[in-house]
């Protein structure tokens, strides 16, 4: 990462993810948002172009309006429920996702492979792992049940691997139609937003494909940081740098830079 992340002096990784993530959300959508950068991106989108965006937060929280300076650390605390419209309970919140009420599922990164599968459980075997990670939380459910799924993650070599040891949260599983064949009849991972660029999944193989690079990033740099055979769109576009307006609003939401870093 450089001091000019996203082509703008002084932008942090989380700021870049929040801005690029926010742009993926549309007004009047419903978004089931996980902890971390997705929460930043969602609340930023609400303050920018999507005032009619309804957030569902994993703690069973519908439509909160978070307070600047009091952003939530977890999806299960009063800051996350600030000015909520409804508090239906956790199981019922996920069941609304199973019914199909969420246009977008929005989750943070972990180990991710070329089919968009995530591992947040265990590296090196489940029963006696080399590293025991914290677990799925609601990520498996969000990725399984929402109509479209966007993953936000810092782009590091150790996070991007050809095939995860353990599929905690299924992207396109083994590619092709294997996700649908596994019984996941709806939705799927549509987009990966990283600190280097934007990715989609090639419709046949369902393998990750570079769509756009952030300003100042080259396709070669992305390939270097992605230890699998990355597909690349032709042409690759370049994203618009974070604007002063986007960054200004984001920073006003987190004046102590607790989340944006």
């Amino acid at each position: 990462m450089s001091a000019t992340l996203g082509g703008v002096e002084g932008v942090t990784a989380n700021e870049l993810l929040a801005v690029m993530g926010a742009r993926e959300l549309e007004d009047d959508q419903t978004v089931f948002t996980g902890v971390g950068a997705p929460m930043l991106a969602s609340v930023l989108a609400q303050r920018l172009h999507a005032p009619g965006l309804t957030m569902m937060v994993e703690g069973g929280i519908v439509g909160p309006q978070w307070r600047p300076g009091w952003l939530p650390i977890s999806t299960n605390e009063m800051r996350a429920a600030y000015r909520a419209q409804m508090l239906p309970g956790i199981t019922d919140a996920f069941l609304l996702a199973q019914r199909g009420f969420f246009d977008v599922g929005f989750i943070g990164g972990a180990q991710i492979d070329q089919w968009g599968n995530l591992n947040t459980s265990a590296i090196g075997g489940y029963d006696r792992p080399k590293v025991r990670l914290p677990g799925s939380g609601g990520a498996n459910d969000i990725i399984s049940l929402c109509r479209a799924v966007i993953i936000l993650t810092v782009h590091e070599k150790r996070r991007f691997i050809p095939k995860v040891d353990f599929i905690t949260s299924p992207g396109h599983v083994a590619g092709g139609d294997s996700r649908a064949r596994s019984g996941l009849l709806f939705g799927g991972v549509t987009r990966v937003v990283t600190t280097l660029g934007l990715f989609d999944f090639e419709p046949q193989s369902r393998r990750m494909r570079l769509e756009s690079v952030h300003p100042g990033v080259t396709v070669e740099q992305v390939r270097d940081m992605t230890p699998f055979d990355l597909l690349v769109a032709d042409p690759v576009t370049t994203t618009t740098p974070p604007t002063a307006n986007e960054l200004g609003i984001l920073r006003s939401l987190d004046p102590e830079r607790q989340f944006i870093g």
Partner: protein, 320 residues
């Protein structure tokens, strides 16, 4: 009689829901605009139960539009089912029970229409039908249960069983029911359609989540702030609601918990009309209270202020 695959097709139901806007925006429309969203041939599920929180104003407005070929679904169907029969609006009733209550005896109208085969009545147990809504609300094609096993109700809709893959036990697999339209009446909502109900919630939330189109009337439209101050009272979120109309006394002469009591005397007059003249008694009732009252205000004017004040007084006292 068997259920149609479209009733429990959770894939198609989800695709339809995915294609629908789920906006956090304005939902307020007129009662007439809300009622206009019920197409002929629709499967229509009612909130409330029996003579509690029935969306009567909304359904009267639907009837004024002379709908055809509706399937009406309600766990305990009160006289609104009789209205629809006599109005020629209904092709099928799906219910666990139909009548007004013990003091008013068997429904003569139901007997006449069902025994003659004019309107089939598909019966489920109370929980069975409740679980049909619950399954749909959960986005599932079925839910397992023990209820209805061993009874002849299993054959009415064509219920199947499912074997538990862990215990090997056989359970009743209740098929989901995804209605086309939900008609609901609630205590309060903000203009974005976030709905709150006081007292017993009945099955309204499941019905809302199960249905493709959700039409709501509310006793009161409150500022957004009031909803956000008590989010733990909200039972249906705004993005689920398609249209919302402000209709005080929207369930009257049925009750609305804490706001007004029902009017058993009115039910008695209604039944007396049927005892005297059969379906003609219902026709006269519809002429006076449905077709003859062009607006909800005209309808309310058919009841004295004193009578409604007394109902409100009883309603407050019973919930205190």
């Amino acid at each position: 009689m068997t259920i149609a695959p479209a009733e429990y097709d959770f894939r198609a139901a989800r695709r339809r829901l995915e294609a629908k806007p789920k906006s956090a925006g304005e939902k307020l429309v007129s009662l007439e605009d809300a009622a206009a969203r019920v197409p002929d041939g629709a499967t229509v599920a009612f909130g409330g139960i029996l003579y509690s929180r029935t969306p009567l104003a909304l359904f009267r407005e639907v009837l004024r539009r002379r709908p055809k070929r509706l399937t009406l679904v309600r766990n305990l169907m009160c006289y609104e089912g009789e209205w629809a029969m006599v109005a020629g609006a209904v092709d099928k009733i799906v219910t666990a029970w139909m009548g007004i209550g013990l003091p008013w005896g068997l429904s003569r109208i139901m007997r006449e229409y069902v025994e003659s085969g004019r309107v089939p009545m598909e019966e489920w147990s109370h929980l069975g039908l409740g679980l049909r809504f619950r399954a749909a609300a959960m986005g599932l094609p079925f839910l397992p249960t023990l209820t209805m096993l061993g009874s002849d109700l299993m054959g009415v809709g064509g219920s199947k069983t499912v074997t538990c893959p862990y215990t090997g036990e056989t359970l009743h697999a209740v098929p989901a029911l995804f209605p086309d339209v939900a008609l609901l009446h609630v205590h309060r909502a903000d203009r974005f359609g976030n709905c709150q109900i006081d007292g017993y919630p009945h099955m309204d939330a499941d019905i809302a989540f199960a249905s493709q189109t959700v039409l709501v009337t509310a006793e009161e439209i409150v500022p957004e702030e009031e909803i956000r101050r008590h989010p733990d009272r909200t039972v249906i979120p705004g993005f689920v609601v398609d249209a919302l109309a402000h209709v005080p006394w929207g369930s009257y002469p049925h009750e609305c918990y804490g706001l007004y009591d029902s009017e058993p005397g009115h039910f008695g007059e209604y039944v007396a009309g049927i005892q005297a003249d059969g379906a003609r008694g219902v026709e006269r009732y519809l002429e006076r209270y449905v077709y003859g009252a062009a607006s909800h205000a005209d309808y309310l004017a058919l009841f004295s202020e004193a009578m409604r004040e007394a109902a409100a007084e009883r309603g407050r006292e019973l919930a205190s």
